[in-house]
Symmetry: C2
Subunit: 339 residues, 2 copies
DNA sequence: CTGAAAGCGCTTACAG
DNA sequence: CTGAAAGCGCTTACAG
């Protein structure tokens, strides 16, 4: 790259000190009480040379990088992509830049990412935490790093977090299926101890028992690493049972998409034979032969809240943790129509 | 944030100079020829204090940030999300970090992003350029900034670029429709002068004329800002003509998804009444009642190539531009089956 | 009213 | 064989 122009170059051309140029270009003239015409001259030279401040030098001095780190599970997944996008936009409004990294739901990668981001002196972190990353989060607290969890949190660790009421959303969705006449409702969720998924499972189970229905054999778990096989097995079991399932609730959009692929392959008619509801939104749900009923997460508000809370922590290191819970919406479409 | 430990802290505790600590921790002992046991002691203290180098200070000194900037149209679009993900992974393998920004196909935002990234001293840029951003790209050349264009390029500007043969891919796809017996093939593309889309349109038109078919009234354009309305109008015109279209070719996945929504609404049967082919991949294509035939872009290879070429430019500022063209694949499925 | 000087946390050429 | 010193490009408290 060509040598960039620095304050020194401007100072030389103007015949003043570097300090004075800095004062003028950061609009602190009153402090330096520099003469009007000199200020004008300096600005003119800066423009002529197309001066661009070196953000890194500024950071080293100020101790702030005006950068926030974002850790998602996988930036190529549209859900996380949307989260990243809203955070990017919101950060930019506040003159912050975002560095994103994908953890792949892997705690080693997550730990590495946290270190890389911290070494790059991000001013704070927004994290979608991975299973097993409690120690990493605790370490962030110990080191007094400003951070916010989003989408998920650990109930045993008091941190700032932005989330939804997974239990209620799930309970609602399943209750809706029951009201539409379904009696054998299966759920496919990830095999994980993460609290948000556990809450979705709890919402499912309690909605069934609240309505006098059994849950026996109806909750199926898929491993993140073996989605395809596990979902096929689960659907085979649910549909091949003596009393086959008449509704299916997916705990995330990736589970639903994989499940719907198999449902198409099996030629199962939705909603006649099987009602379907999924957590999360997806364009794919619109193109399925029966547009899929889904739980919409308020991604925009979540992203905005995450940036807001994080900036508050950055500005005030003593600020107590703030837990934000945002409402979801059940978008009812044909896939869960009454029988 | 808690004060981080610096080389100075370690030097003090070890009773040596900061310089020596730096030599040891960057494994340049042979240069400093420091004693074995002192080196051991220093490392031990560094571990004990959990020393993490300040990347910003290092950058200021070295003039390298080990960061690359990536500009995509919209990180929440899965196509760009995948591109970003492959670049993130590939960059990490080379110890680079990525800062991503979304331009929204808007040249002002693109220009702002370039400035922000350059002020943050990225070592180079990977850019999916926006319509009208030629001047920005020329400026990057003038300033001798290492960069690579990906997905798109400007034929009038000799730059490094990673792309596909849009003309050939398009020609292939349309020829496939013709072979499957279609006679009135419509295309919906973006209204833009961007070369990659123009090439897709050209491939379409020439495939038709090469086979003795007319193109009259069959190419429809949608504005990026009015996708939904423009696609509806286009499909209404194509299907309402005296001789209605019997096939539809979409120039991108977002156009296809919007178009398929309307096709579902109209109750059009695919492929019986209308064959469909789209550029790009999408999970949504799998869930449509006739899985959609599509042109697969080799995103993984494109991302890898982009990082490779960019790093070559970063390492050698004099390296001539390199244009990489990667093959696409037509994935044939039921949406374009013979009538 | 103005500018020189110190310092942010590193790296490395150089002097001893 | 070892360490002090300069310098990357800024900002700002301080001395005059």
């Amino acid at each position: 790259m060509k040598k960039k122009v620095s304050l020194k170059d401007i100072a030389q051309e103007a015949g003043v000190s570097v300090a004075l140029v800095s004062y003028v270009l950061t609009n602190k003239e009153e402090k330096a009480r520099v003469g009007q015409e000199m200020a004008k001259k300096i600005r003119k030279i800066a423009r002529k040379l197309n001066y661009q401040p070196n953000h890194i030098a500024r950071s080293l001095k100020s101790g702030r990088s005006d950068t926030i780190g974002l850790i998602v599970a996988d930036i190529s997944n549209p859900f996380f992509g949307h989260v990243a996008r809203t955070i990017e936009d919101e950060a930019k409004k506040n003159n912050y830049t975002v560095i994103v990294g994908s953890s792949d739901e892997n705690m080693d990668k997550s730990g590495d990412l946290i270190n890389v981001l911290l070494n790059r002196q991000v001013d704070g972190l927004i994290v979608i935490p991975t299973e097993g990353s409690e120690a990493q989060i605790r370490q962030l607290q110990d080191r007094n790093v400003p951070f916010v969890l989003i989408d998920r949190f650990f109930p045993d660790i008091a941190t700032s977090s932005i989330s939804i009421d997974n239990y209620a959303a799930s309970h609602d969705a399943v209750s809706h299926l029951i009201r539409s006449g379904r009696k054998r409702i299966g759920m496919i969720a990830y095999k994980t101890n993460m609290h948000h998924i556990a809450e979705r499972r709890r919402g499912f189970s309690e909605a069934l028992t609240d309505n006098g229905l059994t849950t026996a054999g109806l909750l199926k778990l898929a491993r993140y690493s073996h989605i395809k096989e596990d979902i096929r097995t689960a659907i085979d079991q649910l549909m091949g049972a003596k009393k086959p399932a008449d509704a299916l609730f997916f705990a995330t959009n990736s589970l639903a998409i994989e499940g719907l692929r198999y449902i198409i392959e099996l030629g199962i008619k939705v909603p006649e034979q099987l009602a379907v509801v999924s957590f999360d939104e997806s364009e794919a749900f619109d193109l399925f032969h029966a547009p899929v009923t889904f739980i919409r997460q308020p991604i925009l508000e979540m992203g905005k809240a995450a940036v807001r809370v994080l900036l508050e922590h950055i500005r005030d290191g003593e600020r107590p943790a703030e837990e934000v819970c945002i409402d979801t919406e059940l978008v009812i479409r044909r896939s869960s129509a009454a029988q």
